[in-house]
Each structure stands twice: as C-alpha cells, then as structure tokens.
C-alpha cells in the first residue's frame, strides 16, 4: 500500500473539480458544451468546437475502443518504479471521435490488447478521497 500511495495524486482545479467529484461517486462525466453538444476533455474554459462559455458536465457511457497503447519500461514516474513494464492505453470514448482518456491495463492482459478492441470503464479506489476511471477489455 505504501508504494501505491506514492503515485502522483491529481490536483483538481476550478475546471476539473466536477470530474473528480463524480469519479469519487464512480460516475464518469465529461465536460460538454450546452450550445453545440461537443465533449471537451480535459475540461476547457471555452468549447473547443464553438468557443461557447456555456459548459456543463454530462455522464458518458464509459464504453470505448483502444485507439493506441504503449508498454512503458522506464521507471521514471513516482510510484510506478516497481510496476515496469506497465501498459498505458488511450481509449476513444464511443460518444465522440477523438474523445480520449488514458488508462492502465494489467500487463498480464497484453495479449488481449489490440487497436480497436472494446473496453469499458471501472473505478480504481486509490485511498479514501480518490477514485480513478480505468478501462478493461469487454
């Protein structure tokens, strides 16, 4: 547990606070434009597509596909020194093309990882105040 607690802890800001608050309740939400419906992640001061300032958070399905992935061998991130090699995947959520989130996958499942493979979100509890949306193969 000690090693896990050393992993970098996300620092919420005024834009991202609702994202982390929802995650704590195991709900995946993404900032969405109230005018054009476009999803922005990470959350932005204005909509990436139409520049509107009317932005809210909307639930998303948590379903998506693997856009790309890498296996990291460098022990260069705090708390991950003992986990190399570990996997990072980029998930493209089904709600919108190029709506991406980054996640881990167990290295043991490397043979199941392929670009285009379907994944779904789950929440990893990392201490009492932090839940992280992770993804796993469907």
């Amino acid at each position: 547990m000690a090693a896990r607690s050393e992993k970098p802890v996300p620092v919420a800001d005024e834009l991202s606070q609702p994202f982390w608050d929802a995650a704590k309740q195991h709900r995946l939400v993404v900032q969405r434009c109230a005018d054009c419906g476009y999803y922005n992640h990470p959350p932005r001061p204005t909509c990436d597509r139409c520049s509107s300032q009317r932005l809210e958070f909307a639930p998303v399905s948590g379903r998506g596909t693997i856009y790309t992935f890498t296996v990291m061998h460098q022990p260069s991130v705090t708390g991950f020194e003992g986990e190399v090699p570990y996997v990072n995947i980029v998930v493209e959520l089904e709600e919108q093309p190029m709506l991406f989130m980054v996640s881990n996958l167990p290295h043991a499942e490397l043979d199941k990882i392929r670009i285009g493979g379907r994944v779904e979100a789950w929440f990893e509890e990392r201490g009492p105040d932090l839940a992280l949306a992770q993804f796993r193969p469907v």
Binding site: T78, F100, Q134
Partner: protein
C-alpha cells in the same frame, strides 16, 4: 515570394563539447559555443548587438537556474563582452530554435541591429524526463496518476497508431535510425561519432516505451550550439561563405486540445509551417538537395517528410527505404546524424548542418553541389519552425 529572400544570412557556427553530463556548468558551455560562432564569422564579441535564444528546459519540473539549467539572454549579456549597447534581443517560447532565427531575420531587416547571435543550450540532469512530484496538476492530473507523463509515451503511442493505420513496421523505421548513425559516423561533433550501428544493434536495444527502443529516442546531451546572422550585404565581407536565408515558416495551426499528441492532425499542422516555408522561398521539396528534419523521436522525421510534402501522407516509411535518404541518395536526410546520433540540441544541429551543406563545409558528409537545404524543428504534432538556406542569395 518573400521580399526578404536572400537578404540575410548565417555566417558563423560554434559548438561546445557535447557529452552526456558535463562537469562544467551549462553557462560556460554556452560561452564556448558563442565565442566559437563569433570567431567563425570573423567577428569580435564587441560587434554583436542582437541576441536571441529559445531557453526552455525541455521537460516538466526542470530547474530554471540561469547559467546552470538554462542560458538566458541576460546571462549572455552579463558574461560575454558584447557591443556596449545591445540594440535588440528576443527570448522565444514557441516554435523551438528556428523561431529565434526567424526573429533575427526580422530584426536585421528592420535595421534593429547589425549582427545577431543565436544559441541553444541544453542541460541534462540525471533525472531527465522523470515525473517525481506527488501532485499532478494541469493536464498532468489526467496522465501522471496512470504513470503516463506525456512526451515519450505520447510519441510512442502516435507511432503505434501510424503503424496500425499504414502498415509500417519497426523494420521500416530501423532504416532511418541506422542511416542517421551512418551519417553521424562521419560527423566528428556527434556523440556517436565513433560508434557504428547495425540493424541487429537496433533490434537488440532495450525497449523504452514500446514500440520505441533506446535508439528511437534522441541522445540526451549537455552542450550548446550557437550561430551568427547578419545582412547579406555585410555577410559578403566576412570570413566564411554565407548561408542565405531563403524562406521560413512556423506552425500556426495549434495542436488539438487533447491530452497527448495524436497522429490525426500532424499533416494539417505541419502544412501550416511547410506552406509558408515553401512559398516564402519560392522553392519546394523537389528543390532541396538535402533535408534536416527534426528527430526528437525517430518517427518525427517521417511525419515531417509527409507534412512538408516530400512524399504523401502514410508513405514516409516506404519513401525512406532503398537508400533514398542516404548521403548518396535522391534526398539525403539528417546528413549529420540528427538528434538521434549527434545529440539532442533541439534543432540547432539541424540548422548548423543545413548551413554547412550549402557553404561546402560539411567535409566527408558533403552533398556535392548542395545549393538549397531545409532545416525544420519540432514535431508537426505539436509545434515547429523551419528555414530554407541557400548557397546563392
């Protein structure tokens, strides 16, 4: 065509020693490079009245001590006996090192100064690229908790996507890496000057962030490269043949607001640089006698080949095969070994080599009769700037 074509020139180059870790502070290495560049031009430091650099430390959490971690304009003013009144300076935060060169062109053409000194100094701490913070703020809040810290994994994942989309393989990419090393073996300044590399060496290298192995990453060095620029008119009276600046361009289409560099916009983003580069110079890809294309990671050069129009999108991995980009090939690429084999100088090596080629100073790497060469920095997925230099004004 640009009215400034051929009106300014690069007239001197200086290199400090390049090594993994120097015992001397970065500021002293920068003074070595600056003094050498000024002497190479046949000038004295007292004649330098314009200064520009791109001082950024290239990773998250790097130190910012002047003269140790970075080398600012102020540091050079305080430590080189320059003209009593430096008339113009710029410290650029975008576009990498060709951007200060472009600002130097503007300053010279506006008459703001007579001789511009440009440098890029890079520090290489032992913890290079590490994310050691307990707290992850900004975009890192969505990455670092997953052990994903941006640059290397982003580039590795973009290349994985490229391989998937176009059918490229590590075998294809190895052609580029091995060719770069072969060129570095002809470049006495290169970190890997005395170390040849075979395709077998490439495949035996340890993985870093798959599909990247060690040799897909540029070699981090500590050191500095400097150059001196002036007007074409003044250039004619100096010691070295001038490399005329024929054209320039910068990325102006921003990258998407996503967590990492995606492959999708690299051609569009890169074209925003290349369009200006080629139209200002009145030249195109087929006019280049060689191309020095940034290679922070090996595929970056392939992306530039496509974005700058040397080949079509999705074809660079095939384009580079069969000796086409070798010194003797139809388009010699990174004739000095690039960042992969000369050392990570954030594009300064690329500019220096473009100058050496068009001024006949490239020694054993010389492309016979080279009259026009481009040097492009950065990555079309992120940011970039570039110039075309020519033998004739």
């Amino acid at each position: 065509m640009w009215h400034g074509k051929g009106k300014t020139a690069i007239v001197g180059i200086g290199y400090s020693e390049l090594m993994r870790q120097s015992k001397r502070p970065l500021g002293l290495l920068a003074l070595d490079a600056c003094r050498e560049a000024i002497a190479d031009a046949g000038l004295s430091p007292q004649q330098i009245d314009g200064l520009a650099t791109y001082p950024e430390a290239p990773f998250l959490g790097a130190g910012t001590r002047d003269g140790v971690d970075i080398v600012s304009v102020a540091w050079i003013i305080n430590h080189l006996a320059l003209a009593p009144d430096v008339r113009w300076y710029a410290q650029i935060e975008t576009g990498m090192i060709a951007a200060p060169v472009i600002e130097g062109v503007h300053a010279l053409m506006a008459g703001a100064c007579d001789y511009v000194l440009i440098w890029r100094a890079l520090h290489q701490p032992r913890s290079y690229g590490a994310f050691s913070g307990a707290r992850a703020a900004g975009d890192a809040q969505f990455l670092a908790p997953f052990g994903c810290v941006g640059v290397i994994q982003s580039h590795a994942m973009a290349w994985r996507r490229y391989m998937h989309q176009y059918g490229a393989t590590r075998e294809h990419l190895s052609t580029f890496v091995v060719n770069s090393r072969r060129n570095a073996n002809l470049n006495p300044r290169a970190f890997f000057y005395t170390k040849p590399m075979t395709r077998e060496d490439y495949f035996a290298a340890r993985p870093i962030a798959e599909p990247f192995c060690l040799f897909d990453c540029d070699v981090p060095v500590e050191g500095c490269v400097a150059l001196v620029m002036t007007s074409a008119e003044r250039a004619r009276d100096l010691r070295r043949p001038p490399a005329y600046i024929a054209g320039h361009g910068q990325n102006t289409v921003g990258r998407r607001s996503v967590l990492f560099y995606t492959l999708d916009d690299y051609v569009i983003n890169g074209q925003s640089l290349a369009g200006k580069l080629w139209s200002s110079a009145g030249l195109g890809p087929t006019d280049m006698d060689a191309a020095q294309l940034y290679d922070g990671f090996s595929p970056s050069t392939l992306y530039w080949l496509e974005a700058a129009g040397f080949c079509k999108r999705g074809e660079a991995y095939a384009f580079i095969q069969d000796g086409r980009i070798a010194l003797e090939g139809e388009l010699p690429v990174n004739t000095f070994g690039g960042s992969l084999s000369e050392g990570r100088l954030h594009g300064m090596g690329h500019i220096a080599e473009a100058v050496f080629q068009v001024t006949g100073r490239a020694e054993r790497r010389q492309v016979p009769g080279a009259a026009a060469v481009c040097a492009i920095d950065g990555s079309p997925m992120l940011r970039g700037s570039g110039i075309v230099v020519t033998r004739d004004p």
